[in-house]
Point group: D2
Chain length 255, copies 4
């Protein structure tokens, strides 16, 4: 059978990324407490395509993926990228994973346990001379408006916020540590199971720690900036305002 993809292409256009997108796949990820956890990822895999080839061989992406079934992890990212470049005869490769990551948390007073899900993203690229790897984690927290508290005689509007931190690191960094650092930057952290004494605690804690969306990104910035193992980071926060039908948003990046 003729291999059309291998045909010569005369349009003289190199393609930066070509591959497969939105593959759902069960994966195992490292877990500080339980060694590893099962979850389900959304996966994208791309390589470059030199100008003289008509097409890439799409089935080979899934072959590489299957080869690492049950072995996809931060530690294997470099190998997976190298394997993609070899198997697809490409100069550069890109591998992206997005998945829910679960952590058990104890309620602040009762100690009642519950799971919280955090959306994580691993994004790696490599070519023959360079490698890049970015981790992102989206942390839901409570934010309470400092202005609303200051000007009102009672109460203060508050809401769920999502703080998304992306970072590059020189030394292995646990997602759990980044999550903890974000949670202590907020008005209060979020739980899945709260009994009444816990609810009193989180209500008062949020009221005592008002944070604008600007404060959220700055507080996280201060803490990220102290991590010697982190060489670059960006922070974005979105507040799903309880008094509006739109969000408040802030973004900051450390170059």
């Amino acid at each position: 059978m003729r291999d059309i993809q291998a045909d010569k292409d005369k349009r003289n256009i190199e393609i930066q990324k070509v591959g497969v997108k939105n593959i759902k796949y069960p994966i195992l990820v490292l877990d500080k407490k339980n060694e590893q956890q099962h979850t389900v990822a959304n996966i994208n895999m791309y390589v470059d395509l030199p100008h003289h080839f008509k097409g890439t061989h799409m089935s080979r992406f899934v072959e590489v993926l299957n080869q690492y079934h049950g072995k996809i992890s931060v530690k294997n990212f470099g190998k997976i990228l190298a394997e993609m470049r070899t198997h697809l005869k490409a100069e550069s490769a890109h591998f992206e994973l997005e998945f829910p990551f679960f952590m058990e948390k104890s309620a602040p007073v009762s100690g009642a346990k519950g799971l919280i899900d955090y959306t994580c993203r691993f994004s790696g690229s490599s070519n023959s001379t360079e490698q890049d790897f970015i981790v992102s984690v989206a942390v839901p927290v409570t934010s309470l408006c400092p202005c609303s508290k200051e000007i009102s005689e009672r109460g203060a509007h508050n809401q769920r916020s999502i703080v998304n931190v992306s970072f590059r690191f020189s030394k292995f960094t646990w997602i759990e540590d980044i999550i903890a650092l974000v949670e202590e930057s907020a008005s209060c952290e979020i739980y899945s199971l709260l009994k009444r004494p816990d609810e009193k605690y989180v209500t008062e804690k949020a009221y005592d720690n008002p944070r604008f969306v600007e404060d959220l990104v700055r507080e996280v910035y201060l803490r990220m900036d102290k991590l010697e193992s982190v060489s670059w980071f960006s922070i974005e926060a979105e507040n799903f305002e309880s008094i509006h039908n739109h969000s408040a948003y802030a973004y900051v990046e450390k170059g």
Copy 2:
């Protein structure tokens, strides 16, 4: 050219609904204050298919739609359904529209004006003997937790909630009136533009009017139940909890 759709089908299975789904289309809707407003709808159109036909004629749905371009409204629903039944030679027809509906609101103290969007849905069906028409509107509001207020020394968690009301009516009913009724049932209504005196007002008003998700649906129920023109309704409320990563939810229906 052969008309395959008109072929005889021997599987002896009548199909309840067949048609087109997720058509985006600009529409004009009635507006109590400005007579009408331009918006964009997502449209589904279905008819039944008798067991002896192999297929329906999909292009005819879009023909009916085009015939009513600029004239799609509550008032024309009956005609559109009748036209679908005629043009597609069907017994029954279903027509569904979902669209954002905009209302200008004045902030409670400063009077500053802003637009709020509400997701509306019209859903109509008819056959030779019966006709049915349901209107739905999703209203974003603020809810403040009565339990959190009661047990805490200061503050109370609150959040954006969406209250979705669906109803059948015997007399024309303005969406605007249903929206107003839902907004007065909440801890506080939502605005797009609030100056500081307004923010103080909505903060204190929400604090003074705590509502569980259960209270939201019950308060709306009481008000809907008084409308003589409404023959059936259902109410659902979802609170995007500021202290959890999941929602609180309630549903009630009047038969």
Copy 3:
């Protein structure tokens, strides 16, 4: 601390469903080939609320969920529903799970293996006298248009379709068997990994088995109707048309 939820409510409105929505949770599901598989679910849990109570106790839903951590399965649905009714002192309970389910499939010619994900949904309800349980599975397939094939001198438009089957059963039924039955009803089934001889096979198979969206639901209907263990079913199919920017849709139900 005062229990506001237990307060007497005088509005005299019973609430049909109240609870928690959109909880993400890791679960284990039964798997015909590998006994069980790890996946991640989206969970809703509701009970009724008698008219004389002000609120339900939301934290108890998560307590019931945690009690069944690692043990959520079709077999335990009855127990979970009973536990919800007891723990929340309710008359009726509703438990809904939605999750991706993975199956390994071999390519039709090369035998190359790959995983396909199917979105499944379990939805159970119970009160003191009755119990109801519905399973749904969404199966992606290829559909090829019979009309396009008939009237064109070469080629025929085809596309990805999603066929969603919901059913009640009197005897345990494997999701895998329903998936197989849907896949054989389509123009061709879908794979994640196809080598060139496989691609030739699926292209020609789809061309040789043209199916309207109406044919999809009727072919599945014929096969579902033969299952003695199935007491009720509905089938809907959506074709993401390659020649339009909207879908073709069909729905059929066996009462």
Copy 4:
């Protein structure tokens, strides 16, 4: 009332972007054929925040938006950005709009008319010395696989693809012209209303013009590269494969 936002901030962190996100708003956009059309946008508005201020004044974004109600257009982008910088006392401003854009198209043989929606995005930034403006448009088309056609005795798998083109320009460029250019780069363009002779035409045309996802981005590249008014562009294409449950994807950029 105290203006907390104007408080001095000592954390010494400048915020690159802060503002409002996901505001739904009715807008008027320029239309080559009908002068203008009504549609509904999703809007984001951000400014920078110097390190010495605690917060920005969120209500002012909506004030600027309201000032341009009915006058939001490519031509006013510069003015809107300048107004944002003035009104919010900021160095830089960002304004983003995403909206469905409608075009009437005539079917290729019958001439039957129908509307197609294209998702457009305007994204502008400015500070005291520079200004940037990017237009994006997502065009749905049909793609037919060259490999499948070549190796199969009959038929060829095809699917809906979305080609997303982003560009900067030195001279006003109609969205309609970019859409036309993308549509002629595909296996076939998409219509909302096709009668049988049209369906024959598009089926055969797609079969006669097979395109990989790589071909889609290269064919669009060739055409974009000829436009002297375009100073930068990127092209991405996603094929919603009819034979897989994932997409094929390609991205190319001209620096």
